[in-house]
């Protein structure tokens, strides 16, 4: 039983996701019924003004938060039906995370941070895959360093390697370049783009930076907890243009 019959395989899907805070009159909808598909081997950006629900959507789809109603599926598995143990395993084995900051455990070395999900599962590290990632990200001579001994760009690249170490179904990146300068940003985004193109990785990136979004294959726009628009093969200008119309 597959989740889709189209030639594009689906990595994750949200069906009518609602996330509400508070009750009665004071109730606020962070997500007001979002349905969206994220295809495999594609780089999707989620954009929207602050308060649009883009982070909440990511949290609910990545199994970090539970929606009030609706379903969120990863490779056909409904996350809302899982308990904490299964959900944790799923995050560990099928999802990769890159956060804006505080991505790494300060007491562990770069190498240990990269293999953390594998170690947590008690499995053996795929050495050739590890070497491949490390080489691709230019981290080979940084492996023994602790996070405090690395630049912000290096730290984010370690986080990328960790996100990819388990060959997850989907990588969620939450403003991954938010704390980086433009050079380091470009480097990181190029790598993400490259991992989709060369390794067939699926990535969803939440961002508010039009230039960053232009690295994606597709952009989904959110506003007031709803999907309001989509854009294929975006450029910085086209994204900016859409944002402007959304804002007005």
């Amino acid at each position: 039983m597959t989740a889709t019959t189209t030639n594009v395989v689906e990595a994750a899907r949200a069906i009518d996701l609602v996330k509400a805070y508070g009750a009665g009159q004071a109730q606020v909808h962070a997500l007001a019924g979002v349905s969206v598909r994220f295809e495999a081997s594609r780089f999707t950006a989620v954009m929207g003004p602050s308060g649009s629900g883009k982070s909440t959507l990511m949290h609910c789809m990545a199994g970090l938060d539970r929606p009030t109603s609706g379903q969120s599926l990863i490779e056909g598995t409904d996350l809302t039906s899982l308990g904490d143990g299964r959900l944790t395993e799923l995050r560990r084995d099928r999802i990769g995370f890159v956060f804006q900051s505080f991505n790494l455990v300060p007491t562990l070395t770069a190498a240990e941070n990269i293999t953390l999900p594998v170690d947590l599962a008690g499995r053996k590290v795929d050495k050739s895959w590890f070497d491949h990632l490390v080489t691709q990200l230019g981290l080979a001579n940084r492996l023994g360093h602790r996070p405090s001994e690395m630049s912000g760009g290096q730290q984010q690249r370690v986080a990328c390697a960790r996100a990819l170490i388990n060959r997850p179904a989907l990588v969620f990146a939450d403003e991954p370049t938010g704390n980086l300068d433009s050079n380091a940003s470009a480097e990181l985004l190029t790598f993400l783009q490259h991992s989709v193109a060369e390794m067939g990785q699926s990535i969803v990136m939440v961002t508010h930076d039009p230039h960053g979004a232009s690295f994606a294959d597709r952009v989904v726009f959110l506003s007031d907890g709803r999907v309001v628009d989509e854009l294929e093969a975006p450029t910085a200008d086209s994204v900016l243009e859409r944002m402007r119309t959304l804002g007005s």
Binding site: H59, L64, D65, D84, G85, T88, E89, R91, R92, D93, F97, F99, F102, N103, L104, V105, P106, T107, L108, E112, L116, P117, D119, L120, A121, G122, R162
Partner: protein, 842 residues
Amino acid sequence: MGRVTLKGILAHKLRLALTAIAIILGVTFIAGTYVLTDTLHATFDALVGSIYQNIDFQVRGVAQFPTKDAATATRNPISESLLATVRKVPGVEVAEGTVSGSVQFVAPDGTLIANGGEPTLGVNFDPNPQVSDLRIVEGRAPSAPYDVVMDAATAQKYHFHVAQRVKILSALGTDTFTISGIAQYGSANTLAGVTLAGFTLPTAQRLMQEPRQLSNINIVTRPGTDQAAVGRAIARVLPKGVQVVTGKTVLAEQTSSIDQDLSFFSTALLIFALIALFVGAFTIFNTFSILVGQRTRELALLRAVGATRRQVFRSVLAEAAIVGLLASGIGLGLGVLTALGIEELLRGFGITLPAGALVFEARTVIVSLAVGVGVTVVSALGPARRAVRVPPVAALGDRELDAGFPARRRAVAGAVLFALGVVFLASGLAKPEVSLVGLGAAAIFLGVAILAPTFSRPLASVIGRPFVRVLGVGGRIGRENSIRNPRRTAQTAAALMVGMALVAVMAIYSASASRSTTGSFDSAVRADLIVSTTSSDEAGTVNPGLPHVLASLPGVTASTVVYGGQFEVGQTVEQLKAISSGGLADTIIVHMVSGSLGSLRHGSLLVDSTTARRNHLAVGDPVRVKFALSGPTTMRVGGIYQPNAVIGSYLIGDAFYRSHYADPTPGAVLLDTDGSSRVEMLVRHAVAPYRGLQVQTAAEFKKSETAQVNRVLGLVYALLALAVLIALISIVNTLMLSVLERTREIGLLRAVGMRRHQVRTMIRSEAVILAAFGAIIGLLLGAGLGVALVASLGSQGVTITTVPIAELVAFFVLACALGLGAATWPARRAARLDVLQAIATN
């Protein structure tokens, strides 16, 4: 600033409450000790006062040996004929002779009646209201030779009534008496647990004294006479060796005797209170360090908006003072409750304290509060100083501040303190002087605690290695967490270090003492069976006729009677043993260094080699000695033997003993037998009628000797458990803070797939590593201190140094288990963190 302080306390209620437990326990101990001992004091003083308040003078034998405690001094009896002489002195209205000694009632079930270790008094019953507080409440005074008056408390407890028969054990064995009356002291039915048997004067003399001899004479003067003149007149008619003292003097002697007993008791309890507070101080220091560290930004903000350094300093100290005061107040209350509980406990043992109940002196309140608040504030001084050093700019950044001592200065300070401690300890042990030992130990602990951060990283990392291997990634991160802040690791473990060190000292002391006792008996006793008194009291005696009965039993091949007594050598009173020399070779192992054992028969004095060396004695030397009965004499050293656990330092023959002591008191009978079970049965059968005596095989005897050491040890361990408990609070505090501080980190770990049980494993690993770190340093330190202590006790019979490795390992495992327990709450909290909130935390 005051409001900021209060808000700070409220914001950290939980952590401060945990800290407060340390203070509460220590202060409870102090207050409880004071209230209890003050109460006992007042009780005994009142009782003694009621006994002696009516007496103006007492005539008694001069103390045989100079002693600090006049009330318990050995005195020669005085002649009954003095009574008539004293009565003739003008101004004397009443003069009554008293005879007192120790006898025991036998309960209907055949056991001896004794309320704990309280005296079991026998007296001549003389209810003259002018000299005695004794009142007959039922029946009549004793008039026949086998009449006895019983105290009301004993009668009540064992349901004795007038005209009933009761068995009484005295030095002459067991006899049956008829209860002629029930008596009580004034309004109290008991003298704080003392049992009393009152006889006619001749009976009392027969049971407890020589015929026609009195213990003392109590005198009341005629009203309106010149007291001092009467006293001088009485003194003039007394023979040599008899003195007259005022009733006030007797009262003062009795009171000071009670004071000495009680002050030993209260000192011991106060030492444990101080240990608890000392360990508590480390916990407080740790907690306030953590609070200050945690509030770096808040403090910096205060400084940025204009708070002076002094205001910040005061705010931290004020917080400590308030916590200290609250905790001390609670401790004070609990202390009173504890004392009440102990009073109830005593009542359960049949010791009724008279009404008027608890004595609650101002000193108790002042000392408890002062010590409680003082310890808290002093412990918070260091953290407060660190708070002052927080620069206002720290409010902006989030870098962790570490404004402690520089490593070099820290190492020097720690080493100097440690060295000072060693010097104090060594001189304290050599003297010996308990307070110096305590000071030295405290300095050593502080020194090590200051040094600990310099080696906490490598040591904890080694300790943590097995965790990485066995527990996987949870263990690995736990280990990393335990060493990421070396100073915090060291501070957290310091309290446990002190607790475990003290436990190790006790373990080594008790093992060494037990082994020494066993060893010394092995090399001293050859007998198969030993008959001795059940009470550990030196005064316990075997009925003088019994040894002959035992010696004639079939199967008994040799018997030796060991007598005990005191005599004066040079200027000091010494314990002396006497043995019957027949069959000695089969019962006691005596290794002669020089001279001969046979010289005992010729009235020679034998000494052990240690004593001979100390007093520069050789065989043939004359020794000036003094006996209670016969006065000064010169004895010759007939032989020198190797130190022996059974016969002690000085030994004489039994014939000589009997001619120099009024009432021969055999302390033990050692029997060599054919080894059959029949002879053991016969001996047990022969001893059975004599209550208060026991028959033990050589093995049982040894065991009971070491059991005494272990009984005390059990109590000491229980009290030290308190210190360890306080130490664990330190670990809980640190872990709770770590969980709070690392909320984001834990959130991240959970996000990338750490399961809840792995989070718990991580926190628990950290806790166990902290505990293991403290336990290892503590046990090593304690082993050193214990060996030093044992080495200094060589002259007191602790000659073998034993380090009970298995026991110490068990304590180590226990400490780790307790560390695991301490992690329960923080681990649960960490595992329950909401992933999303944790990530969003700043």
